[in-house]
């Protein structure tokens, strides 16, 4: 789109207007920022506890006091994350009660069809690419994986924090199970975020709309055509909405 060559003489330079469409509200961006920070802190303080034999872990956990400190930081970050979860769920329930919860993050049959279509496209079995609404199936997978992942981490985390209290009314066997789940889920989630989420928002295309709140109309049209049309954007004539810049 950007013109790099100098324009020929006597030709008017076309005025390029860039339209930005709001994608995330300030509240959502704050939620993401807090989730992001909490995840970093929890991983930095949790993984050394899991991989205690590793030399980098012993570098961090060099004294018993350090272990205690790292655990305290882990607990504080966990409380912040728990507050975020309560806010997120509370807000969703409130919106649901007012019948104003947007359903566009819910997984539908269309997502399964999109995923199938995309897989065929990636395998060169079909030229056709799926067109998406506000959230494509990849983004929904990210959201729901993290949704349940955080849920597992919060629940098992509190079980491990207060094991003596929980076993007053729950069977003791949940303690080692919670330890296994907390530890495994953390690694799976960390690897998943790096492979899946970071690939999609940083490598495939740089998409910082979660931080800026805005997505330009061109990206919107290319990657979220149905949402673009719903918002009243122009109707492009073809389905070739590939990666062409």
């Amino acid at each position: 789109m950007t013109q790099t060559n100098p324009p020929p003489a006597f030709q008017t330079i076309p005025v390029r207007t860039e339209v930005h469409i709001q994608r995330f509200t300030l509240g959502q961006r704050w939620e993401h920022a807090i989730l992001f920070l909490c995840t970093i802190v929890l991983l930095l303080t949790g993984l050394p506890q899991k991989y205690r034999d590793a030399s980098w872990s012993q570098y961090i956990l060099s004294t018993p006091e350090r272990v205690e400190l790292v655990r305290q930081i882990h607990h504080i970050a966990a409380l912040v994350l728990t507050a975020l979860v309560i806010y997120h769920l509370g807000r969703a329930i409130l919106l649901l009660a007012r019948r104003r919860l947007p359903g566009n993050m819910l997984i539908s049959w269309q997502d399964i069809r999109d995923a199938w279509k995309m897989t065929k496209h990636l395998l060169f079995l079909s030229k056709e690419k799926p067109v998406y609404g506000k959230y494509n199936f990849e983004q929904k997978v990210t959201y729901w994986f993290i949704f349940f992942g955080v849920g597992i981490m919060v629940v098992t985390g509190f079980v491990l924090w207060f094991p003596e209290m929980w076993t007053r009314f729950l069977p003791g066997g949940i303690i080692p199970a919670a330890l296994l789940a907390h530890s495994t889920e953390a690694s799976v989630a960390a690897v998943f975020i790096v492979i899946w989420h970071l690939f999609h928002v940083l490598i495939e295309r740089l998409n910082l709309s979660m931080f800026t709140g805005w997505l330009n109309a061109e990206d919107m049209r290319t990657h979220h055509l149905l949402e673009y049309q719903r918002l009243g954007g122009d109707n492009p004539d073809n389905s070739d909405t590939g990666d062409s810049q």
Partner: protein, 369 residues
Amino acid sequence: MARFEFRRGWLTVSLACIFTILIAFGIATSARAQDQTQDTEAYCLGCHGNPDLSMELPSGETLSLYISPDTLSHSVHSPLGIECQACHTEITTYPHLELAAQNQRELSLAFYEACAKCHSDNYDKAQDSVHAQVAAAGNQAAPICTDCHGAHDVQPPDQPRTEISTTCGECHSAISEEYLTSIHGEALVQEDNPDVPVCTDCHGVHNIQDPRTSQFRIESPEMCAGCHADAELMAKYGLSADVYSLYNLSWHGVDVSVYKANWPTIWHESAVCTDCHGVHNMRATDDPASSVNPANLLSTCQKCHPGVGPNWTGAWTGHNQISLERTPFVYYTDAFYATFAPLVLWGSVIYVVLKILHMLIDRTRRSLR
């Protein structure tokens, strides 16, 4: 007296003869062998074979000077030709030198040093022991070689093996009695079992360390593992040899291994084997008196986790592999992640790789067009 002088003269003459002959033939025998082989026993027993021979020490104690020829001849040394003067090097003549010792104990403390002449390795080891530390702190009762091994009646210390626990029990009587009620002690006494540990198997022989230090505590699971992780030995008694490796995966075990690796000198309360099984009185888990018998397990846990409810014992997976029967929650969690983790991770890796390949192929095609 005249008889003694005569015999001494005769002895001197014969020794001189032997010595001259040895020199003449240029036979170089080792110094140690010369020291040990001294035909002094019969000579000394001439007086010391008298059961009534005794003297009074400055402390007022009566010191018997009688050495039973029978005891002496059945000790390990005498039949090997290691006789009186091998140890009593300061006694070369009669009358003997005046004793400097004020009491019997001082006498023993002065004489036992002779053991180091031949047994220097074990003597040096003993100098590193907690017993030597106690002695250095001024406790004269701290054991020296002869307290455990005997002086004139030295016998192989481990024949039979019960002899070892009996010897230690002479001072450590309460612990010895406790040990004898344990599964190890019972098997030792009742069947002279060669596999069960006696005191020295866990505490060491000569360089016995203080078992109350954090270092000893933190290393103790490894010590138990010496036998309890030995599959062949455990199979003999129908015991699991995985107890140690599974302990190492448990909350306690991970904690302990970190302290062992990084801060062995810092005291840490995380449970080691003996905290639950008992120190000297460990019993089989199906013994109703065992501290880890299901009937007693909760109160054993409550030693460190006061006030926990009856469900708490279920949190301890024991030394068991993950199984549906014993640990269903862990089993299902494990089964879930065994499927979920590879599914999600491989799924996303494959998808992302496909996307990258597609992008590269697309770009190449466009540039060739």
